[in-house]
């Protein structure tokens, strides 16, 4: 094979390799780089297409729609900041939805975390059949949200449900649960506690990961059980609490299925305007957003609501992350 003119053979001792013209070398490098980039792009292309088509395009579309009046059938009409002004100044249902959502986050998320830690603590003990108990506690979280909610509406039915019958036997007050605005959200919190398995399993892993020698050292120092929990367990699982808190806050802002299904179930199948029943107490932000977008077909307004939701969720998550520096402890010292 003929040697290209640009490749000169060095006569230097011990080298014996062809010396390549720097310009040619740069060209070759560029070609290799291009080929590598093309390969990377080829492998990434399914994700890129998915990202552009199913995420970026809808997001940008909804941003555009949020500045329009758009009913899904007519061409969107530019409306500037009308939807945002309407939301903050003319729509009491928006504020009710926001209030309900903040309630479920403020009450539901901490309650669920505490209950998950408590349940996981019970399941850390070494005893026979502990695997069975762990499975039993985890199983409810596998139930589909719709089925679980319908089950709870049945269990807590004030007329026919077994829970109130049991409370009656104990001569305790019998709430109207999902039929009473005072009790509908606590009913949903109970539903969340029943399906705590997903959080419980993470806390269980966190608790099992706490080094036993820390407790042994505390025992030597004569620490009480509460002190061990407060000064060893809690700091050691604080990253798990932090993770659950962030996920809980984000999920809380998107709270939808359970509220929608419970409201539909108590209103009966013939009702069209059931969302938020009773008396708007289950009108959460995402439920109201869905109602505006897909029942009233105010897609411009729903898009504006979606962007406000995004901004509020982002802001709350940032606050939680900032605040976490004061109480989250990482064993390795990393943040």
């Amino acid at each position: 094979m003929a040697v290209p003119a640009s490749v000169q053979v060095s006569a230097g001792p011990g080298v014996g390799l062809p010396r390549v013209d720097p310009e040619v070398r740069r060209r070759m490098r560029r070609r290799v780089k291009r080929r590598r980039n093309a390969t990377v792009l080829l492998f990434m292309s399914p994700w890129i297409v998915g990202f552009l088509v199913f995420l970026l395009y809808p997001m940008l579309s909804s941003l555009y729609f949020s500045f329009t009046k758009y009913d899904l059938l007519k061409t969107p009409q530019w409306a500037g900041l009308f939807n945002y002004r309407f939301m903050f100044t003319k729509d009491p249902q928006f504020w009710q939805a926001m209030k309900n959502t903040l309630w479920i986050i403020a009450v539901g998320v901490p309650t669920r975390i505490v209950f998950a830690i408590f349940t996981a603590s019970l399941l850390t003990r070494r005893r026979r059949s502990i695997g069975v108990y762990r499975t039993v506690f985890f199983l409810p979280s596998m139930a589909p949200a719709v089925a679980a909610t319908l089950g709870f509406v049945y269990l807590l039915n004030p007329a026919t449900g077994p829970v109130n019958q049991f409370l009656g036997l104990l001569h305790l007050p019998k709430p109207l649960w999902f039929f009473d605005p005072t009790w509908s959200k606590p009913g949903l919190v109970l539903l969340g506690l029943w399906g705590v398995g997903d959080a419980m399993i993470i806390f269980l892993a966190g608790l099992l990961n706490v080094p036993a020698q820390l407790y042994e050292a505390a025992d030597v120092e004569g620490a009480a059980a509460w002190q061990k929990f407060r000064f060893i367990t809690l700091p050691m699982i604080s990253p798990v609490i932090f993770f659950s808190l962030v996920i809980g806050v984000i999920d809380g802002f998107q709270y939808f299925t359970q509220a929608y299904v419970a409201a539909a179930a108590i209103s009966g199948p013939g009702q069209i305007n059931f969302v938020g029943s009773p008396q708007g107490s289950t009108m959460f932000y995402s439920v109201y957003l869905y109602s505006q977008g897909f029942q009233e077909f105010h897609m411009g307004y729903a898009s504006a609501m979606a962007w406000v939701l995004f901004a509020v969720t982002m802001a709350c998550t940032v606050v939680v992350i900032r605040f976490s520096r004061r109480w989250v402890h990482y064993q390795g010292g990393f943040r």
Binding site: L56, Y57, L60, S61, Y64, F65, K69, Y70, D71, L72, L73, K74, T75, P76, Q77, N83, F86, K90, D91, P92, Q93, N157, P158, A159, T160, L176, F179, D180, P181, A265, I266, S267, G268, P269, G270, Q271, N273, F274, G276, S277, P278, Q279, G280, F294, Q295, E296, F297, H298, G300, Y301
Partner: protein, 446 residues
Amino acid sequence: MRPLLRKLTIPFGLVLLATACTAGAGSQASAPPTVNPSASHAPVTITFWTGWSSREFRGLEEIIKGFEAKYPWITVKATPGIDDDAKILAAINGGNPPDAVSSFRPDYVGKYCSTGGFLDLGPYMKASNIKTSIFPPSVLTYAQYQGEICALPFLTDTFGLYYNKDLLAPGFTEPPKTISELTDMAKKLTQFNGDGSIKVAGFIPTIGNFYENDLDRFAVSWGAKWFDDSGKSAFATDPAWAELFQWQKSLVDWYGYKKLTKFLAGVADNEWDTGNAFESGKVAMILDGEWRTAFMADEAPKINYGTAPFPAADNHPEMYGAQVVGGTIVGIPRGSQHPAEAWLLISYLATNTDALVQFANLIKNVPTTYDALKSPNLDLGPNFDTFLQAFQHPMSGFPPQTSAGIIGDIQGVLFADKWQAGKVPDLMAGLRGLDKQVNDQLSLGG
């Protein structure tokens, strides 16, 4: 400009441009393509979405067979169970709708007409020489919007009072004709258990959480106006609304809201099964649709019941016998690939007397043309006369449509939910707030 911002600007702009160009695309001229039924044609298959399912859909398929026999070159591919209009809207918006649709939401006609979502059927009707005078005026209150017909009625619903004759005696032999009589009977027919809970309710007055107790149906008894002459919401300005809400709340309070709620919790989910409160003898009188006659025959044949017009307010005797009328509509969505054949189908369903009578007899709905109403083959049972009369009452009709649907009813039900629970201390202030809410919501429309 920062490099990142510069890099993002072009694709962002392109996306916005594409969004602006594609959204709402697909509008087409409304000039009707015509088909000569007597000429020879190449075979055509048209798609038809319908909300009916199971037994009712099988009945519809029989009707469609009659259509296919009449137009042998057309095959109809019908899809059952599309009872959510969001799917229809999404298909229209996506530019790939079925050729024809039926919808259970007459309250969406305003939206379909005002946006061109359904084709204007006026030119088609003119070309086929079908006049609106074949339909009773009550169905035209929802089949058209601001003078434009973009949907045809295909059977309809109306409402009346069902009363359990066995529970009525002793003391009463006739159903109530006025709201005062209804209230009196409701109280006297109510039975309580030993612990004070309700055993049998005379009449359930709550709105929005019990079967067919919707605000618009009660409003008819008072002749309440939804909007004033300037198009503004009239809850606070028409005194009929305050009278309605005061009557309704007084009867709720007589039962006790908590007691009533607990009673409702036991029956709320049973409207369509044998646990239905009326079918199981738990309520003596109930406001319900004409279809209940079919359910009674099927599920509670031993219940000795009668039907009567829903009572009118004492100061509005002219409203006795009137009720809300609103039922299934059929239309041609924008983007239909075979609008001419779709027109043949929907006009057949909406105007063919045999088809209307056959389907009405099957699902016990009110037929929607004068000819079908007069048909000797109509076999709807003796208790159905109440509904045929309500259907033809001059004051019967559908609540006024807006481009945002029946927004007054939607917001009104939300208000009633709080009012009947005692959460609205000042009724008139609440109604003024309701008016503002309705007027504000109207401004959200496209």
